[in-house]
Symmetry: C2
Subunit: 474 residues, 2 copies
């Protein structure tokens, strides 16, 4: 391994070779093969497909010269230790899980690109000044258990795994049972071997799996072998100096504006509500129009007010009623009650707060005029997560240096990066999603755009880990 | 039995005695006891409760001096034969079935009042000039099988029972099987006895049931004993000179206008449609407002157009979207498709036609402006059924003579009378429904209003069957 030498800030001396793009595309295809049957990619937390993918990544990263390990909840790391003694880590990656019948890019792209970037950086520049780590988070989507951001949430302290051990999936399998089936949790070393042997298909790999899992940091040593109900010990890390995540946009902003790269300024905060509008169910034939309290007609007025207000507020505010149910829901009965969901997002906390307050006030006024009763239940409130301005500026510099068309933007979707943003300088790089489609087998990003994202990520990691500029993030 | 004598037109010589009101209320209470468990009254076609009620009615009418019989589909008749030889019949009654957890007045009131009226008329005036018959139709609601107006439909030729024999209820019991369980259909005389014995609770009543069923008119003699799959023979009647139905309003028009009696001028025609609005499902966080094709926001605009147009058209037009479903129906996904039902009613065919055409044109325009695709599927179209103007005038005369506050009105709900209206002079009398509520255990009409309706019905039947005025309807 070459000796670590501090480089002056500036472009990487050697640009990413053509092979790196091929390596990235190959890795994406290999990961996509770990899927339950059906269209697209289905890789739910702690399923055999998921175990297979995380095992495969550990093997591949080990082959590429990284030190690998899996933490207590199944996050996988690949490490390239730096020469500086402070122990701080530049972390990059994304999540390995998918929704049911999802695509091959959401999450997996950020992981595969991080692996490729570290491989190339190690080959081209040897040991970095600052430690670089790839992370493949075990779970972000919350598709099997109601545990969105389970992977990054355990790393940042949002979750304490043992509290969630009783959560059950649609088949009444608890989180603890699902973890045990993957060889996670306590007192299950035999299961671990069997699991990895089963996935890898021969006994030799069982030993590899064993080795990979045993390479846990000190914190994990507190796992209690006698606990069969969940797991103990913490996956929390306090050594992260910066977090950089590359991800597909999952929207149409980049495609519509003909940009290859999005530099995310903030991840939008969300407010979710359940709205109930109550009127009077009555006979559709015998109740004159003037004597109705039709909960659906009233809700239609609220939905149009929602749309009108959101358009008037302007980008990046988005507001959606995605689910709506009518009671009793019979063709010849005037609806007596309607329930619908609200999902409202903006990058600035004050704007989000003001918009929601004004909207709900308008809802109350419109309902009152019709003699309808309104009940609004807050369901979720997350704060916007601003990305680090220094890192954003660095990403914009890199795009200009590489001659890539880019734009600043807000992420309307949630990402693992929003959990790191309050704790360390964090950044996100977006690449276009064709037609804005994601969470679908139709999800697609062109090889050119995938490569562009890899090039920007690699240059950013070079700057953070190999040059003096990296100091700005510690 | 007193000899039949033609009376001059005018009020009945002897008004209805106090006991008649008590008899009506008692009969309603007795009928309400024939119900499946649960709130309110549940008496679905061809269930044990239904069989019990029709059997009870036959017994009671026989006791009151009427000739009783049940036809091939389970309609029950009670006859007071007139002295005139033309064989024409003045028919009065309603239906005995209910919705699930319905009330005790919808349908049953018209049957119980008809029985009470004929009892009183026979006692007070003896044999009529024209034959009077009570009918208790087996089915109007269509709550067990998709066979709305099954009872009156078989009498008027809308249905041919054997074609519908394969219809199944929610528990996959076919109509033919359900009929056989009630002793209807062919080759089931043993079942008949057992059925009626079971309902009546002792062997003596089985003989009565046997006798009642065997008193079928000539047409029913064609029932084929070897057919086990349905029934043959016809319940159609061509001897009806007039049909008069007393019913609760099921609306709030009478209550709001402080009238005891509604003289129905017409039963509204109905158009039903299934509307499908298609847009593009997309991520609620990453899709800017300006780039959406939100099927629910678009549908909200259509629903408000529906309400606005109906209010502008004015009474008696009513328009309702009672069921609406959103796909995929997830809080964080912009709705890609919405389906909703339309139920539009008016008493005049031309108005209904014009309104629907204009509305659907507006729907198409509004959808098109948003880039949404509209598909409209007609589901039902019934013509308005005007009541006989001579009978309406006679009812208004009677209300004035009796000093009862009344109003002319349109029935927005469907009734058995609409099947007779194209075939013979037909009339409907409404009494108030408290708060307009029906199809509910809360259904209620005061004893005073129930009695008022009975008095008007009795006077009307007297006029039709005992006086020279009756000639106007033949």
């Amino acid at each position: 391994m070459a000796a670590a030498r501090a480089q002056p800030a500036g472009p990487m001396k050697r640009p990413l070779p053509q092979e790196a793009a091929g390596e990235l595309l190959g890795l994406l295809a290999e990961l996509a093969a770990f899927s339950a049957p059906g269209p697209g990619v289905t890789r739910l937390l702690y399923t055999p497909e998921w175990c297979g993918a995380q095992h495969f990544l550990q093997e591949r990263m080990a082959e590429l010269g990284l030190e690998v390990r899996m933490d207590q909840v199944g996050n996988v790391y690949g490490r390239l230790t730096g020469s500086e003694p402070d122990g701080k880590v530049i972390l990059t990656g994304s999540h390995i899980d998918t929704v049911v019948n999802g695509g091959r890019y959401d999450g997996a792209y950020g992981v595969a690109a991080a692996v490729t970037a570290l491989h190339y950086l190690r080959m081209a520049f040897g040991q970095p000044l600052r430690t670089l780590e790839v992370v493949s988070f075990c779970e972000e989507e919350g598709s099997r258990f109601p545990l969105t951001f389970w992977g990054s949430g355990n790393v940042t302290g949002l979750y304490n795994g043992s509290e969630a051990a009783g959560y059950a999936d649609a088949e009444e399998i608890t989180l603890a049972e699902a973890m045990a089936a993957c060889g996670l949790g306590a007192g299950v070393s035999a299961v671990r071997d069997a699991q990895f042997a089963g996935l890898a298909g021969d006994a030799g790999d069982a030993a590899l799996g064993r080795r990979l899992i045993d390479e846990v940091p000190a914190a994990a040593a507190s796992v209690e072998p006698e606990s069969g109900r969940g797991f103990t010990g913490s996956a929390v890390r306090s050594d992260i100096a910066a977090y950089v995540e590359l991800h597909i946009e999952q929207g149409i902003t980049l495609e519509r504006s003909f940009r290859s790269i999005g530099v995310v300024q903030a991840i939008a905060g969300q407010r979710r509500y359940l709205v109930k509008v109550s009127g009077t169910a009555n006979h559709a034939g015998t109740t004159p129009m003037s004597l109705r309290q039709d909960a659906l007609a009233g809700s239609a007025e609220l939905l149009l007010a929602l749309e009108r207000s959101a358009v008037a507020e302007g980008d990046p505010l988005v507001a959606t009623a995605g689910r709506l149910e009518v009671y009793p829901g019979t063709p010849n009965v005037i609806p007596g009650e309607v329930q619908f969901t609200l999902d409202i997002r903006h990058s600035q906390a004050e704007t989000l707060e003001r918009f929601c307050a004004a909207l709900l006030a308008e809802f109350a006024e419109l309902s009152g005029r019709r003699g309808l009763t309104l009940a609004v239940q807050p369901v979720l409130a997350t704060l916007p997560a601003p990305m680090d301005q220094g890192l954003c500026t660095a990403l914009e510099d890199i795009c200009r240096q590489q001659g890539k068309p880019y734009r600043s933007m807000v992420s309307g979707a949630g990402h693992d990066a929003q959990l790191f943003a309050p704790r360390c300088p964090s950044a996100m790089i977006f690449v276009p999603s064709r037609a804005g489609i994601s969470h679908s087998p139709e999800e697609y990003t062109s090889p050119e755009d995938l490569t562009a994202g890899l090039e920007v990520l690699t240059a950013m990691l070079y700057r953070l880990a190999y040059t003096d500029n990296g100091d700005t993030v510690t």
